[in-house]
């Protein structure tokens, strides 16, 4: 693999949108303001999320790999998404027993599932990266240069699952513009198509996950009110329910183990039957009988519906809770959007119609719609979109909390809080000369920490020794627009900012990702250097372009001497770009960043002033000037808060 070959500096970089699904994945882009899926050379756009590892270690992705899943299940990984962000001892890991899992050797190893395939130890992140690489290649064949990607995740994905997805993209050499939630992406595709305002529910039943999102569409702002889901509920579960019945007909006794090949045959037949029963009332299946011979099984649509009813009913509970969280009755909704392959099942459509009291919208292909929305968002983020007024305001899907005395969770950010968001909590020492704290961050709705998802444990160290209750520590949590958490801590009595050691409970460390990156590249260090050079050049291009554009619009906000500094820094960066040293480019980018920072603050203030329609712009600018810039502003904010919110912690 030669990265420099892919990097064609003359081709303009094109943003792409990726729906990385449990069963299938899709890549899409926007052409002439219309999103469209990208097909491979055979015209196929639906890429089965299956990865087969050949004897030599080479990975095969897609339809061919899916075909090998039945013949060679040990070396073929399907539905890897269900394992993303999962630990070695996770219940889900134990449930999917078709792979050879590697027992963790130490605590760090236990943070992620690992399987052994052809002597190689692999994480779900690496397997997902293979799928992403294939999608990236498809996009490059079409667009020659890919400029960045928006990748969709289930709305109900927790922090660990989101981080794992981002790491997979990094391994695949994709720049992630943003992770967005699948239902929100679908709403974007619908909203931009129809240009209508109102309250909508997005019902997204995929192969492995279920999500529901309630959102308001108001002149281009897609504001998520609430979201809910079940990351272990989907079409796979329907197949399993049908397969159990088929296995019975094949002569298997309930509760007794069945050969892996037979299970696979039954699951495949179940899926075919489910698909066929969308259009016909009854199907006949020829199946092998245990102990030899064949058996013909007749399955009616009514029987299928009886089998899947309990699964579909589980989605109803989630929907009712999401409506309740949004403070809405079903009748207040203006429309319901169907997303995901499993919503093709007629029973599901009837169920949704009854639940929300209105016929669902499904005029866009429910399988493509998420990828199309992702492509639209990628286009907007890359600045190539024309719909400048569009904005997605999404929420935190699951509450974030801290473990307190007795293992009880204290919520610091409730579910359905608009992101990006943050919270601060002040802690005090409980023992004389105590110099550290242990904190445990969890995610979920349960009362006890052990019942929630453990996200990170960390130790705050270096607290100056003082009598108990004297030292005060402020811990700030922030969740960015990707829904990812970061933590910072500060000792308030001395003002010492602590760099906190955050040990994620799940996932890979940055060093581990870097190592995998080295392994994935043929010539290790050389390739890595080449790749960094590409990345730094892309970033440099972006910064220079942004600066140039800002100079055209907001030059009047420049202070004395600023323009000269900015122009000099821009020139030096341009010179560095011609060179081959990524570190030099990086340093020059930082210099330009520094030169533009104060001016950027003033431009942001102007944007705020413009946004506050009806308010006198001079007033706002005056207020802002008094706020003495953002950094001071933030510090004051923190100080003011802690005084009032001071409280005892563990």
């Amino acid at each position: 693999m030669d990265l420099l070959e892919i990097f064609d500096p003359k081709a303009p970089p094109r943003p792409i949108g990726i729906d990385l699904g449990t069963t299938n994945s899709i890549v899409a882009r926007v052409r002439e303001e219309t999103p469209e899926v990208i097909a491979d050379c055979n015209g196929a756009w639906l890429v089965p999320s299956a990865v087969h590892y050949e004897r030599g270690g080479q990975a095969i992705v897609g339809t061919q790999a899916l075909g090998l899943a039945a013949i060679d299940p040990e070396h073929t990984i399907v539905s890897v998404k269900r394992l993303m962000g999962r630990g070695a001892d996770d219940a889900e890991t134990k449930r999917l027993g078709t792979y050879e899992f590697v027992a963790p050797e130490n605590e760090a190893d236990a943070r992620t599932v690992r399987f052994r395939v052809r002597g190689r130890v692999l994480t779900p992140i690496e397997v997902s990266a293979e799928i992403l690489r294939t999608l990236k290649k498809m996009a490059e064949d079409e667009l020659s240069r890919v400029g960045g990607a928006v990748i969709t995740v289930p709305a109900y994905f927790d922090d660990a699952q989101r981080q794992a997805t981002k790491d997979a993209a990094k391994l695949a050499g994709l720049e992630v513009l943003r992770l967005i939630n699948e239902p929100t992406a679908a709403a974007l595709a619908y909203g931009l198509e129809k240009k209508q305002n109102g309250l909508f529910a997005v019902y997204d039943l995929g192969g492995g996950t279920f999500d529901v999102t309630i959102l308001r569409l108001d002149d281009g702002v897609f504001e998520v009110k609430s979201t809910g889901g079940d990351s272990q509920l989907g079409g796979d579960d329907m197949d399993r329910a049908v397969a159990e019945k088929l296995l019975e007909a094949m002569g298997a006794r309930k509760g007794e183990p069945v050969a892996r090949e037979l299970t696979r045959t039954a699951l495949d037949a179940a899926r075919r039957a489910k698909h066929a029963l969308t259009d016909t009332d009854v199907v006949e299946l020829e199946l092998p009988k245990l102990g030899g011979g064949d058996v013909t099984v007749r399955l009616g649509r009514d029987e299928l519906e009886a089998l899947i009813a309990p699964i579909v009913a589980r989605t109803g509970l989630v929907c009712r809770r999401a409506l309740r969280d949004a403070g809405l009755a079903p009748t207040e909704l203006d429309g319901v959007i169907l997303v995901g392959g499993s919503t093709r099942v007629p029973y599901v459509r009837r169920y949704v119609e009854e639940l929300f009291g209105k016929a669902p919208l499904c005029d866009l292909d429910p399988e493509k719609v998420v990828a199309l929305g992702a492509a639209l968002q990628a286009n907007l983020l890359a600045g190539t979109g024309s719909a400048d007024e569009v904005l997605l305001l999404d929420v935190l899907p699951l509450s974030l909390g801290l473990e307190t005395m007795g293992g009880v969770v204290e919520k610091i950010l409730p579910r359905n809080t608009t992101i990006p968001t943050g919270a601060r909590q002040t802690f005090t020492t409980y023992a004389d000369k105590q110099t550290g704290f242990d904190l445990h961050v969890v995610q979920g709705e349960r009362e006890l920490a052990e019942q929630c998802r453990s996200l990170a444990r960390f130790t705050l160290k270096g607290v100056p020794p003082m009598p108990a209750g004297m030292a005060r520590l402020e811990v700030s949590f922030s969740v960015d627009a990707d829904g990812l958490l970061s933590v910072k801590a500060k000792e308030l009595t001395t003002g010492i900012e602590q760099v906190v050691e955050v040990k994620p409970s799940y996932g890979l460390s940055d060093e581990q990702v870097e190592e995998m990156l080295m392994d994935a590249l043929d010539h290790g260090e050389d390739d890595l250097l080449a790749r960094r050079l590409v990345e730094e050049r892309v970033e440099a291009e972006r910064v220079l372009h942004a600066t140039k554009k800002a100079l055209e619009v907001d030059a009047d906000l420049l202070a004395e001497g600023e323009r000269e500094n900015i122009e000099r820094a821009s020139r030096e960066l341009t010179e560095a770009m011609a060179g081959k040293a990524p570190a030099v480019i990086h340093a020059r980018i930082e210099l330009l960043d520094h030169a533009t920072k104060a001016w950027a603050g003033r431009r942001m203030d102007r944007a705020v002033a413009k946004a506050i329609a009806g308010k006198n712009v001079d007033d706002v600018e005056g207020e802002v000037a008094r706020a003495k810039g953002v950094e001071t502003h933030l510090e004051e904010h923190a100080r003011g808060r802690s005084g009032a919110a001071a409280r005892g912690g563990e």
Partner: protein, 172 residues
């Protein structure tokens, strides 16, 4: 204080807030500050936009919540707030709340939906009354009435959280 949520959102500091105006202002400011609008900006600018978008979202969240809104107004008026500095609520209120909570615990244990709804409705009505009184206290500058009312509001809210939790179990 510059980080007051009313100032941050450019809204008139009042307890009785126009909810629609708050939401509209939140959307307008999000359009100006959301990280998506700075995706192509230099790193320092992206960080700045992120922290300001967080501030705006936090401010909007605070103002939607009557307790936090009252706290913000109290702080503006120079009244220290927070459960550790506020005076202990009067014994009568504590007794009353204790009794209500016992009744609620009994009703939820018996899964007596009608009883829980009745208790919840009663406390919600009272919450509306307390909020109206708080609004009057703030408008009239009656600082001494603010903290007792705020304390009561906190108690009522904690009660309603339990009602909420029970109602959620009914959804399935």
């Amino acid at each position: 204080m510059s980080a007051d949520p009313f100032t941050l959102l450019g809204l008139e500091p009042r307890f009785e807030l126009d909810a629609a105006a708050l939401e509209q202002r939140h959307r307008e400011l999000s359009r100006a500050l959301h990280p998506d609008k700075y995706a192509q900006a230099p790193a320092a600018e992206r960080r700045m936009a992120l922290s300001r978008a967080i501030e705006v979202n936090e401010a909007a969240r605070a103002l939607r919540d009557p307790v936090k809104r009252a706290e913000a107004l109290a702080r503006r008026a120079g009244i220290a707030v927070g459960e550790t500095v506020e005076p202990k609520p009067p014994g009568a209120l504590l007794m009353e709340m204790m009794e209500s909570r016992e009744a609620l615990a009994e009703a939820t244990a018996a899964r007596d939906v009608a009883a829980v709804t009745k208790l919840g409705d009663g406390v919600r009505a009272r919450q509306r009354r307390v909020e109206a009184e708080l609004a009057t206290a703030f408008e009239g500058g009656e600082a001494s009435r603010v903290l007792p009312l705020l304390g009561e509001l906190r108690y009522l809210r904690r009660f309603l959280e339990e009602v909420d939790a029970f109602e959620e179990t009914l959804l399935g």
